[in-house]
Subunit: 209 residues, 2 copies
DNA sequence: CCCCGATGTATCGGCCCGATACATCGCTAC
DNA sequence: GTAGCGATGTATCGGGCCGATACATCGGGG
């Protein structure tokens, strides 16, 4: 999962570890607080061993001069890495539909073809619907076995599930009618990007046609 | 975190591993799909070594007779385990306020005193508010740097944050006015436990007084 | 009679996290 | 000036937790 995210970011531009962590945090802020260095560096080493990325010591754009001793290590993606990224983007494991997996895949939807986008959105919807049904069962059948706080927790979780299903429904509808909110590559922004709300951005929250 | 959940469930009644996993799944269904056996059994071993629980081979209530060979192992909590449970319930680490930690603590709120409940609810609210501010910053400042799908993901996450903050606000208000939705021990249920909705349950979703 | 799904216990490799250590740079404060 | 401090930066270690896997029993349906 993390492989996909790192490969995706390095495909945009080479980076060193610290930078990568920050970009990861902003891109995946909703689904993962901030990747730990205890995860990042071993993962980078693993990707390097596999041949997906290469390490180039202290690049020319070294803005803070840093009298060396230990230059920053800049990672860049290889051709095999780009292939790997494409494979990971399109693959359909069960982990593609859990919280983390779906989030990472969704974050790179602008580089995914529409058929794959639809498959992932529908798979995620099915997953959430299952979770929702489980919660409904607990709330209706096991109502007298659980205390009020636990029930309230379940109810709140059920709310979140229903909300996410609706969100996914709208995204799927949009996707099917070709109104995808992104074009591959750079995106046409109408000059003022959402100060308080952005009704001109093709979000899935418009009325049904 | 898992220690707290296991100790809490074993405090209600002794259980064997398989049963424990199922109870864990229904009680914590919203925050953790289902605990893996690769987690559960080592954890039980660790709790046993620490002296919080004891293992009693194949109890008298062995309903499916099972011609032995390997009887089911029933775990029960010790006096030290109950102390440990109380400590874990009241303690205030940073992990108390993340998704998993808060969920487990909340699930055992019926055994927590009101002061601790308030502290945890407010800590959680602060945590979510910070996450919300981070997302708002990304959405307003980095609007043109991210593609539309990533932005949509952030927007959805922001929605979830705002929703959870409101939920917490209502719980805190309820808690402060003494209208806690649970009494310690068993709970008085009005005969028909929520077939479709349960307006008579003291949920935090009633109108303000 | 045989397979299948539920019940049940247990281990292993591997991902990921928090804590920790170490080093440099630019800024402010004394 | 120099001492601290926060941001930048790389890296390791112990341990929690997961998915996959193995093994075993039991009840029921084909």
């Amino acid at each position: 999962m993390l492989d996909l995210a790192i490969l995706g970011l390095l495909q945009e531009t080479p980076m060193h570890g610290y930078e990568l962590r920050k970009e990861l945090a902003t891109k995946l802020g909703t689904i993962r607080a901030a990747i730990s260095y205890g995860t990042l560096y071993p993962t980078l080493k693993r990707l390097q061993t596999a041949g997906w990325i290469t390490e180039s010591e202290s690049d020319p754009s070294m803005i803070p001069p840093m009298t060396s001793k230990r230059g920053r290590v800049v990672y860049k993606i290889t051709a095999e890495g780009k292939e790997r990224f494409a494979d990971l983007l399109a693959q359909a494991g069960p982990e593609t539909y859990d919280d983390a997996g779906f989030g990472v895949h969704f974050a790179f939807f602008s580089r995914t073809d529409q058929a794959t986008r639809l498959r992932i959105l529908e798979g995620r919807r099915r997953r959430i619907e299952e979770r929702r049904e489980g919660l409904r069962d607990v709330l209706s059948r096991a109502g007298e076995r659980l205390d009020a706080y636990t029930l309230e927790l379940q109810r709140h979780g059920l709310d979140a599930c229903e909300r996410e299903v609706r969100w996914l429904e709208e995204l799927i509808t949009n996707e099917r009618s070709g109104r995808a909110p992104a074009t591959p590559g750079s995106f046409d922004i109408p000059a003022d990007p959402a100060r308080d709300a952005s009704p001109e951005l093709p979000r899935p929250h418009q009325d049904r046609p």
